[in-house]
């Protein structure tokens, strides 16, 4: 019994020692081809500006270096958009509040369309001096050709955000979905919204339950 096990173990070890020649034969004809190398050079040219950007300190965000500046740019764009939206809300009607404050409640990179490249999802909590309380969700998508972020979608939700914002698996798509919930004027009044990408468009499924 012991002899048989030892023989079996030696046999596996012998096979493993020959792994290189076995795999070399197995993978024969499959190489990192000149066309693949050329493709990498082309991609490198597209991203060359990233390589030349000095990075004096290691990233603190946990994001890939290529996403760092672009993410900050997207966040800046979100703030700008929010200011515009706020300005429009201020001027929407007579007696509109003079002061509206907002704060970011959630931001994350989520693969909404299931294509491997993450989308940027942000949720803002807007509060006003009158009864203006809203949640604003924004979605950006990265454009692979230009490496820039494009704002895809904004959607408001009544009430005050109920954390946490949850990333959930979309049942009928490889992508993920984001669940945002808010509380209305009374504690019993709640709203929820599922944010997802379906093909080329962002879709929301709202539940205006009470």
């Amino acid at each position: 019994m012991v002899v048989a096990m030892t023989r079996q173990s030696n046999n596996a070890e012998k096979q493993l020692r020959q792994l290189r020649s076995i795999l070399r034969q197995t993978f024969r004809g499959w190489t990192f081809s000149p066309s693949m190398r050329a493709h990498v050079h082309r991609m490198a040219d597209q991203y060359a500006w990233l390589a030349r950007t000095p990075s004096p300190s290691p990233p603190q965000t946990g994001l890939r270096p290529g996403l760092r500046w672009a993410t900050w740019a997207a966040v800046a764009a979100a703030i700008l958009l929010l200011l515009i939206w706020r300005w429009q809300s201020d001027n929407a009607g007579p007696g509109a509040p003079g002061e509206v404050a907002g704060q970011p409640a959630y931001a994350a990179l989520v693969d909404l369309d299931g294509e491997g490249e993450d989308e940027l999802v942000a949720v803002w909590q807007i509060e006003g001096t009158l009864d203006l309380r809203q949640v604003l969700a924004l979605v950006w998508q990265r454009q692979s050709e230009t490496s820039s972020w494009q704002l895809l979608y904004t959607v408001p939700l009544e009430g005050q955000l109920i954390p946490p914002v949850q990333v959930i698996k979309a049942p009928d798509s490889p992508g993920k979905a984001v669940l945002v919930s808010s509380q209305g004027s009374s504690a019993a009044e709640t709203h929820s919204m599922i944010l997802r990408i379906d093909g080329p468009v962002v879709r929301t499924v709202s539940d205006n339950g009470s």
């Binding site: 493993l16 990192f32 290529g66």
Partner: protein
Amino acid sequence: MAENEPAGRHGLEPSDTERRHAELEYLMRRFGDKVLYLAYSYLRDREWAQDAAQEVFLRVYLALDEFSGQSSYYTWIYRITVNVCRDALRKKNRYICTEPDNLAQYGDTADPEAMAVENITAQEVVHAIYSLPVAYREVLLLHYYHDLSLKEISQVLGITVPAAKVRLLRGRRRLEGLVKDGGGHDQTE
């Protein structure tokens, strides 16, 4: 690594770009196949492995200046490969469901003469390795195929040397079991 040329009014960027491309080309020629095969060991899909390998070298290119020289080039590149593949698997959620390709398509097995008993055994071993959970598969391939020491494996995978050793022993044991059972399909990840 070559030093940057002095900053000239027109000369800096083109020569720097050329230098970087030349370095990239050298690394792709030297490590391209190994990166491809290592990516395959994770992804078990030829097209996917090709995409991943290209992304690896794009990341290498973008991080050339950050390579400190504290580890060897191949340890650094293998580490990037492992990270790219793990990211890809996580994003696609395919840790469990990916079936290995028919490996025979890359070999010379079209010839019936090649299907000798020894080759069948070899294919069984290869299939058994690719059926192992990724934690064991990566260690076995890095050690026996890519010839990395336990210390280098620990650097590539970001684990301790004893952990690498334990994984290697367990991987070998599971492989022995699979080969004994005829190269079974252990899909547990």
